[in-house]
C-alpha cells in the first residue's frame, strides 16, 4: 500500500502534522524550481536525508513506491517518444530520440519521484488522526470564507478509518463466495465484473449498516457538529518544526542560487 502509516519514534514522526503538511505543500512548488543537474541533485539529496531520518527501511519504502515506478516509467517513455529538440541521438524508422527527450524523461522521472517520496514520507510518519487534525487546524482560518473545515476533516477521518475495515470485509466476503465456487480470476472482462456482484451487494449492505450504526453512536454521544467542540488531543509545535522550517528556507535559497 502506498504510504500506509508505520508507527515509530523518528524525528519525522515527532514533528507536528501541520508543519509536515505545510512543508509538503511548499515542497511541491519548490520541486518545480529545479531546472539543472545541480538543483535536481540537491533535491534528491534532501529527500534522501528525509528518508534516512524517517527510519523507514528502504525495502518498505521501495515496495510502497513500486506502483509509482511503473507510472514514472510510462511517462518517461512518452517523453522519450514525443519530445523533440536538440540533437537526434538515435533513429529507427518512425522512432527518433532527441537529446531534449532524454533530458526531459530524466527530469520528469526525478520530479515525479521527489513528489511521491515527499507525500509517502508524510503518510508513513503521520497517523491518519494526526493528519486530519492537522488539516482541520490549517483550514480553520478559511472557515469564515465558508470552508467547512470541521466537516471535511470529519469526513476524511471517517473515510480513512473505514477504508481498512471495508477492505477486510471485501476480502472476507470474497473468500466466502470463493468457498461457494465463485471465480474472480478467469473469463473475459464482462464476466469478471459480473462475478463481483455477489461481493458488492453484501459489501454495500454492510457499509450502510455501519454508517447507520456510526451515526447512531455519534448522536447518542451528543455529537452536533464542530461548533464549540474542544479537542482531547491538541497539536503543539516543537523545536523540530522550527528545524524543518529553517531547513526549508536553506533549501529554497540554495535552489535559487543554483538554478540557471
Amino acid at each position: 500500500m502506498i504510504g500506509q502509516y508505520i508507527p515509530g519514534h523518528s524525528p519525522l514522526h515527532q514533528m507536528d502534522p501541520r508543519a509536515k503538511l505545510l512543508f509538503v505543500f511548499a515542497y511541491m512548488f519548490a520541486v518545480f524550481l529545479a531546472n539543472n543537474p545541480a538543483t535536481y541533485g540537491l533535491l534528491v539529496l534532501f529527500t534522501g536525508i528525509g528518508i534516512y531520518f524517517s527510519r523507514i527501511s528502504l525495502s518498505v519504502f521501495y515496495r510502497s513506491m513500486k506502483p509509482v515506478f511503473i507510472l514514472i516509467l510510462l511517462t518517461s517513455l512518452l517523453h522519450l517518444w514525443m519530445t523533440r529538440g536538440g540533437e537526434a541521438l538515435f533513429s529507427f524508422s518512425f522512432l527518433t530520440i532527441y537529446e531534449e527527450g532524454v533530458r526531459q524523461a530524466i527530469y520528469i522521472s526525478i520530479r515525479f519521484f521527489l513528489l511521491m517520496a515527499a507525500a509517502s514520507l508524510l503518510t508513513f510518519t503521520t497517523s491518519p488522526i494526526d493528519l486530519t487534525d492537522g488539516m482541520e487546524s490549517l483550514l480553520k482560518p478559511f472557515e469564515r470564507l465558508g470552508v467547512p473545515a470541521h466537516e471535511l476533516a470529519l469526513m476524511m477521518s471517517i473515510a480513512l478509518r473505514f477504508i481498512p475495515t471495508l477492505w477486510e470485509e471485501t476480502e472476507k466476503i470474497k473468500k466466502a463466495q470463493m468457498a461457494r465456487g465463485a471465480d474472480f480470476e478467469s473469463g473475459h472482462v464482462f464476466k469478471r465484473v459480473k462475478s463481483y456482484i455477489p461481493v458488492l451487494i453484501p459489501l454495500f449492505i454492510s457499509a450502510f449498516r455501519r454508517a447507520e450504526d456510526l451515526a447512531l453512536a455519534m448522536e447518542s454521544r451528543c455529537y452536533r457538529g464542530g461548533k464549540g467542540r474542544t479537542k482531547w488531543r491538541e497539536l503543539h509545535y516543537s523545536h523540530l518544526d522550527v528545524v524543518l522550517l529553517l531547513l526549508f528556507v536553506i533549501l529554497l535559497t540554495a535552489l535559487w542560487l543554483l538554478r540557471k
Partner: protein, 285 residues
C-alpha cells in the same frame, strides 16, 4: 474425507512491518467421517487454519491434504480443496446477496455446473436439512430473522454437498436455544450422511457434546488433541491454554464430591447424566 496437515505455517502480510505468524508448524490428522472441534483462545489461529483447509489461502510452509488432494506452499491455487471443502465463515449471513433465498442457496450448486433440475433438488434438500420451510424460498433473504438468515447461509454451503463441512463459530450471536438447534441439526445430518465436520468454537459444552475429536490451538500451534474424555480429563492443562472445562463436567465433578462410586468423567450430555443418575437411584433407592 481424511484431512492430513503436516508442518503447516502461515504468515499474514509477510515481509512487512505488520507481518504476523498466525500458524506455526501445525500437524494434525482428522479421520474421515468424524465430527471434529477446534478450540483455542482468541487469536490462536483457528480461523486461519480453516481457511487453509478450505483452500482459500495458501500456506507459507507445510502441506494440507484432503482425501487425495494436497496443497503445498508452492501450489498454484487451493481450488482442488475448494471443490471438496465447504467453509461457513463466522457471521455467514453477511454474505447473502441474491434476491431470493432459493437463488442464494443455488449460487454454489450453479457454480459447480449442475443442471437446473439438480440445482433445484439440491436447494430443496438443503433447505429441508437446515429446517427452513419451502415457502421461504421465494422470500428475500434480507427480510428474515438473524437465525433464519444464518440457516440460509449454511444451506448455501450444504447445497454443494461438500465432503468436508467447516463451520467457524456458527452459533456466535444466536440465542442459546437456536444455537443448540442449529448444531443439533448439523450433528444429526453428519451422523446420517457421514461427511466430515470441523467445528470452530469457543464453547466447551458444544465441543464436548458433539465432537469425536478435539484439537486445541494455542499461539498458532496445535497444543493438544484427542477425544473429549481425554482432553477434558486434564483441567490444569486446559487452564494453561486459557480454556475452561465444560459446564457439564464441572457439574459432574461437583456431584462426585458427594457420590461414591464417582460418576465417570466421560459424560458430556445432560441426557446421559440424567440416565446415569436415574439408574443409580434405581439401584440404591
Amino acid at each position: 474425507m481424511e484431512i492430513l496437515i503436516e508442518g503447516l505455517s502461515y504468515v499474514y502480510m509477510p515481509d512487512t512491518p505488520f507481518s504476523r505468524q498466525a500458524l506455526n508448524d501445525v500437524s494434525l490428522r482428522i479421520p474421515s467421517g468424524t465430527f471434529a472441534a477446534i478450540l483455542g483462545p482468541t487469536g490462536s489461529g483457528k480461523s486461519t487454519l480453516i481457511q487453509l483447509i478450505g483452500g482459500l489461502i495458501r500456506p507459507t510452509a507445510g502441506k494440507i491434504q484432503v482425501g487425495p488432494h494436497a496443497v503445498h506452499h508452492n501450489s498454484k491455487s487451493g481450488s482442488s480443496l475448494r471443490k471438496h471443502v465447504g467453509v461457513v465463515f463466522q457471521y455467514p449471513e453477511h454474505q447473502l446477496f441474491a434476491e431470493t433465498v432459493g437463488r442464494d442457496i443455488a449460487f454454489g450448486p450453479k457454480n459447480q455446473g449442475l443442471t437446473q433440475g439438480e440445482i433445484d433438488e439440491r436447494v430443496r434438500l438443503a433447505m429441508q436439512w437446515v429446517g427452513l420451510s419451502p415457502e421461504l424460498a421465494e422470500r428475500s433473504p434480507f427480510q428474515l430473522s438473524g437465525g433464519q438468515m444464518r440457516r440460509v447461509a449454511i444451506a448455501g454451503v450444504l447445497a454443494m454437498q461438500p465432503d468436508v463441512l467447516v463451520l467457524d463459530e456458527p452459533t456466535a450471536g444466536l440465542d442459546s436455544r437456536s444455537g443448540r438447534e442449529l448444531l443439533e441439526t448439523i450433528y444429526q445430518l453428519q451422523r446420517e450422511r457421514r461427511f466430515t465436520v470441523i467445528l470452530v468454537t469457543h464453547d466447551m459444552d458444544e465441543a464436548a457434546r458433539y465432537a469425536d475429536f478435539l484439537y486445541i490451538l494455542s499461539d498458532g500451534r496445535c497444543a493438544e488433541s484427542g477425544p473429549p474424555a481425554q482432553v477434558f480429563s486434564q483441567p490444569e492443562k486446559l487452564r494453561e491454554y486459557k480454556l475452561d472445562l465444560p459446564e457439564i463436567s464441572k457439574l459432574v465433578l461437583r456431584l462426585n464430591e458427594r457420590l461414591n462410586p464417582p460418576l465417570p468423567l466421560t459424560i458430556f450430555r445432560l441426557e446421559e447424566l440424567e440416565r446415569e443418575l436415574l439408574t443409580r437411584k434405581g439401584e440404591f433407592g
